[in-house]
């Protein structure tokens, strides 16, 4: 880094040079403000180099005196950040003591933080899901719970993939993210993480997501991964489990609210996924040729159709053809809430006749992940049956009205 003394019009400004590119220069001035100038407008009176430590690396650290050992895996969703007010740089923090100082987490748990990868979640690929799954499997052998810190954008995909890959698990696998970055005092990350560690200390044998239940702080909900969906771009309570109340809430203590699968003695982990599956959003005017190209070479295609699960009539022959050639075509709905119903209108009946499989009330993204898992793990002949079989709680037997769900909370 460089410190500079520069002249801008009638003013003299001293500060640290934060950025110098594209003809502009940003200086962190001694009054704390960043100031940006056209380079042609400033005259340097003095510039000198200064050493600066870079903290951007995250290290594996274990701390705490608690009996239960919780592994926290960092995949890129930052667990906590430190702001360097001098440079404005935000860097991740992995020391649990720095994250949980002031709470009782470290007296109740031993927390081991391990960096796994450092990626925005939109960049993750199915191969990364497998890699995360393998590390979780390894960690679960010598810990009492595993927490996966993950970017929120694709957290539902990754967590659902793990839910299918872990047919049985020895310890809870809890995903956690945050909607406000952890450098802010208002970040939701601390409460989400505190809750995640507490959820990971229970006997739940499912993959679930720990995020804010409301815009208020103070109540964190645990959502079944295979019913979850990010339903808001920015709110803290963006995650919902569709058509299902949270499994549990945390408001200082864990309160289970419904039935859940318990941990097993033995782990059963099957990390095989078939990547030749795609998820297609139908829209008016979607051209049949384009659609055909999009699904060509796929073993399965999940279509987010309109309403009860429809596509335009001119796509049906393509679907029929694909089906006949061994591609599984699955119909889900863009409505997200509710079930598909292909027997109601003629379009639906024609889709069924063309070989389409109804996803029912399965969340579209979950249907997509499930198709990858089934094709990777089982003989193709079993696909139709298994797809309609409730394997991890991804299918709801009953579509209970929202109003009833709200009352039962």
């Amino acid at each position: 880094m460089e410190r500079a003394l520069l002249r801008y019009r009638n003013s003299v400004i001293s500060g640290l040079i934060i950025n110098e590119a594209n003809g502009v220069i940003t200086v962190k001035s001694s009054n704390g403000y960043n100031m940006t100038f056209d380079k042609s407008e400033v005259e340097f009176i003095e510039r000198k180099r200064e050493e600066y430590a870079d903290h951007r690396k995250i290290e594996a650290i274990e701390k705490g005196q608690g009996e239960k050992r919780i592994s926290v895996l960092a995949t890129g969703g930052t667990i906590a950040s430190r702001v360097d007010y001098e440079t404005g740089a935000v860097s991740p923090v992995s020391d649990p003591e720095l994250i949980f100082g002031g709470s009782d987490i470290l007296t109740r748990f031993t927390v081991a933080v391990k960096p796994v990868m450092n990626e925005f979640s939109e960049n993750l690929k199915p191969a990364d899901w497998i890699r995360i799954g393998e590390i979780v499997a390894r960690e679960s052998s010598d810990s009492d719970g595993v927490v996966v810190a993950h970017g929120t954008d694709t957290m539902s995909y990754t967590s659902s993939a793990l839910a299918f890959m872990f047919e049985a698990m020895r310890v809870p696998i809890i995903f956690v993210g945050s909607q406000r970055s952890s450098d802010r005092p208002s970040s939701d990350s601390r409460e989400n993480m505190e809750a995640a560690i507490n959820f990971a200390g229970t006997d739940i044998g499912e993959v679930a997501i720990s995020m804010h239940g409301t815009t208020s702080d103070g109540r964190i909900s645990l959502l079944r991964a295979v019913r979850s969906r990010k339903m808001h771009t920015s709110r803290r309570d963006a995650f919902e489990s569709i058509g299902l109340p949270p499994i549990a809430d945390y408001d200082g203590i864990v309160k289970f609210m419904g039935s859940y699968r318990k941990v097993s003695e033995e782990m059963k982990f099957s990390p095989k996924l078939d990547e030749r599956v795609s998820l297609i959003y139908f829209h008016p005017g979607l051209n049949a040729d384009d659609f055909e190209n999009m699904i060509s070479g796929k073993h399965a295609v999940v279509i987010m159709g309109t309403g009860l699960g429809h596509t335009a009539r001119d796509l049906i022959p393509v679907i029929k053809n694909a089906s006949a050639n061994g591609t599984y075509v699955i119909m889900t709905s863009q409505c997200i809430y509710g079930s598909t119903g292909l027997n109601v209108y003629s379009t639906g009946r024609e889709l069924l006749a063309a070989g389409a499989i109804e996803a029912g009330n399965m969340v579209p993204e979950v249907a997509f992940v499930k198709a990858m898992y089934l094709l990777g793990q089982y003989p193709h002949e079993q696909f139709r049956d298994l797809f309609r079989t409730n394997m991890r709680g991804e299918i709801l037997d009953r579509d209970v009205p929202e109003e009833t769900l709200r009352i039962s909370r």
């Binding site: 003013s11 704390g32 007010y85 720095l98 100082g101 103070g218």
Partner: protein
């Protein structure tokens, strides 16, 4: 040591909120509420500034009232939108009028504020201009910065560690103008605030509301810098500076007294549980305290007679601090016995603590869990005062000031990455050029010329910074009547009722008065009733504004003359007022009097 005074003057703008497209004004009360906490992660406590860690130690939670002029941005549930262009242009225009170097790029920062007044835990702020000056009668005062920032949420109340804020004010654009400490005394400070005020208010983009202009006063007389935050009226600037000077002078005397006796002593300052001495007390404050907590007492070595004795008030310094942690029951030996305690009870405590003549004793009613924390906090404060380091953030309280929190450090800003750097291009510069801030002299001259009002009234309107209110009123009612209302009637009513009405209400009354074609007597009566009833429609439907007709006046006057045949022309108006609270035209009443008298 020279007195140094600097000002930070804040003006809300009426341009719409800064980082979302919500309006500045709300039309409905509460929509719903939500609760939050703010955290400074422990990783930062090592180098976080004193003010921030003080707030996080108070471990409070915050409840926010959502107003209809707020959206997900104010809730910290959505990233900020691009800053309001008109607000930016106004800040640029003001910067230019103060002779600043205007930035060619505007770079938003996050300033950490964790008292809950910002849902994010930081305030977004950017420098627009630097290095300006304003001419005053006592020489130029340098302007260090002109910033455009977002206003904080409005504090509603504080109860049991929960602070309630309303989001209505959060995000309103705020122009902050900071001076260098070039101001020489309190009168000068008022002049500077006023001069800056003309410039901003004459842009027409300043918000009109009770708390739309707020000043922070920086004061130092050699004992460290004190920042007095949120002074809303010009006259209050003068009062708080006077008070602060006196406070610091008196603390100097108190400190010298204590030092001459040998100073304070940490080892003898121990809060001990003395509740047992009060098992049969009749003191209400102690008995109430014992229901929820315990009574603690400690010696304050060598501090007798400095806590509350004439002008010496070290006791208030301690009480203000303790109160900021939500603890109210503080008593000390300079005011004991008192609070319903007997001399005997007090003596027992003194004896148990080994108080000698020069020592003082402090009594606090509190939760035992917080004793060691409070003990340290109190001693740290006394020690700081003993070293004559009086720097801290204070707030106005009437014409006094009270402790708010330690002085914030400098290093608590980092870039607002959600708002890209804004280039001040030709269009923004042109928009700024169309906004022309004017000085006091220019404003007065304009008023006289445009509205035909007296120079005296114009000066009043300019100096009280109610230009905008006047201009709006003059569109609705006769300009001279508007001037009369603003310069005489409203100040009179404010004095009489002790109330300050929202300007919008007064304007709405003028609007309705225009529609209903009320005359000046009816309007003035309606205004009077508005101060009483607080509702425009109630004021307008009040029977008192129904004007007496010529016939009614004549009947009334006949009636008066029947009982008081000697009533004179000079007394008649007062006599009519005694008998009716309805409005009438005094000139018409005189005419009627003459007619009735002639008829007789």
């Amino acid at each position: 040591m020279d007195t140094k005074i600097g000002l930070e003057v804040h003006f809300q703008l009426n341009t719409g909120k800064l980082f979302c497209r919500c309006p500045v004004e709300q039309t409905q009360d509460e929509m719903f509420r939500f609760r939050r906490k703010l955290h400074i992660s422990a990783s930062e406590l090592g180098n976080i500034d004193a003010a921030a860690s003080y707030e996080s130690m108070r471990s409070r939670s915050f409840e926010y009232i959502v107003a209809d002029n707020s959206c997900l941005v104010e809730m910290d549930e959505e990233p900020p939108k691009s800053p309001n262009r008109l607000a930016l242009a106004t800040a640029i225009a003001v910067s230019r009028s103060l002779g600043c170097d205007v930035m060619d790029h505007i770079t938003y920062m996050r300033k950490i504020v964790i008292d809950g007044s910002n849902t994010t835990g930081f305030q977004r702020t950017a420098i627009v201009g630097i290095n300006g000056r304003i001419e005053t009668s006592r020489g130029p005062v340098r302007i260090s910065t002109v910033c455009l920032e977002e206003d904080a949420a409005r504090k509603i109340e504080e109860k049991n560690n929960v602070v309630v804020y309303s989001l209505d004010r959060l995000g309103i654009p705020l122009i902050e103008i900071s001076t260098e400490p070039d101001i020489v005394d309190e009168e000068h400070a008022v002049e500077v605030a006023r001069s800056i005020g003309y410039l901003v208010i004459s842009t027409g983009n300043a918000r009109r509301a009770v708390d739309a202009v707020r000043q922070d006063v920086n004061f130092s007389m050699g004992y460290g810098r004190v920042e007095i935050k949120g002074v809303s009226k010009l006259a209050q600037i003068r009062d708080v500076i006077r008070y602060e000077r006196e406070r610091q002078e008196n603390l100097r005397i108190a400190v010298d007294t204590i030092r001459s006796r040998g100073g304070i002593d940490r080892s003898s300052f121990k809060l001990k549980d003395v509740s047992d001495f009060f098992s049969n007390t009749k003191s209400k404050i102690i008995r109430n305290g014992l229901e929820s907590g315990r009574i603690f007492a400690s010696l304050l070595k060598n501090m007798a007679g400095t806590l509350k004795n004439g002008k010496l008030r070290m006791g208030k310094e301690i009480a203000d601090l303790v109160r900021s942690y939500g603890i109210k029951g503080v008593m000390h030996s300079d005011e004991l016995p008192g609070y319903g305690l007997t001399a005997e009870e007090v003596e027992t405590v003194y004896r148990s603590l080994g108080k000698s003549e020069n020592d003082a004793v402090l009594l606090i009613v509190m939760d035992p869990a917080r004793v060691s924390f409070i003990e340290n906090a109190i001693f740290d404060r006394i020690q700081k005062i003993m070293s004559m380091d009086l720097s801290e953030t204070r707030g106005p309280s009437g014409d006094e000031t009270v402790f708010l929190r330690p002085m914030p450090g400098k290093d608590r800003m980092y870039p607002e990455t959600d708002v890209p750097v804004i280039e001040v291009g030709a269009d923004l510069a042109a928009m700024a050029s169309s906004i022309r801030p004017r000085t006091y002299g220019e404003v007065v001259q304009d008023l006289v010329k445009t509205y035909g009002i007296s120079k005296q009234n114009a000066e009043y309107i300019a100096s009280e910074m109610i230009l905008d209110l006047f201009q709006r009123m003059a569109q609705l009612i006769d300009a001279r009547e508007a001037a009369r209302m603003i310069t005489q009637i409203i100040p009179d009513l404010e004095r009489k009722t002790g109330k300050v009405l929202d300007q919008d209400k007064i304007l709405r009354l003028c609007q309705r008065s225009k529609e209903m074609q009320l005359d000046r007597y009816q309007l003035e009566k309606a205004l009077e009733i508005l101060y009483e009833k607080n509702s425009v429609e109630a004021a307008l439907s009040d029977s008192r504004i129904r004007e007496l007709s010529r016939q009614e006046l004549e009947d009334l006057i006949s009636d008066i003359l029947n009982t008081r045949g000697d009533a004179t022309r000079n007394a008649i108006i007062a006599l009519i007022r005694e008998r009716t609270d309805r409005v009438f035209d005094p000139r018409m009443a005189m005419e009627c009097f003459n007619e009735v008298k002639n008829r007789r």
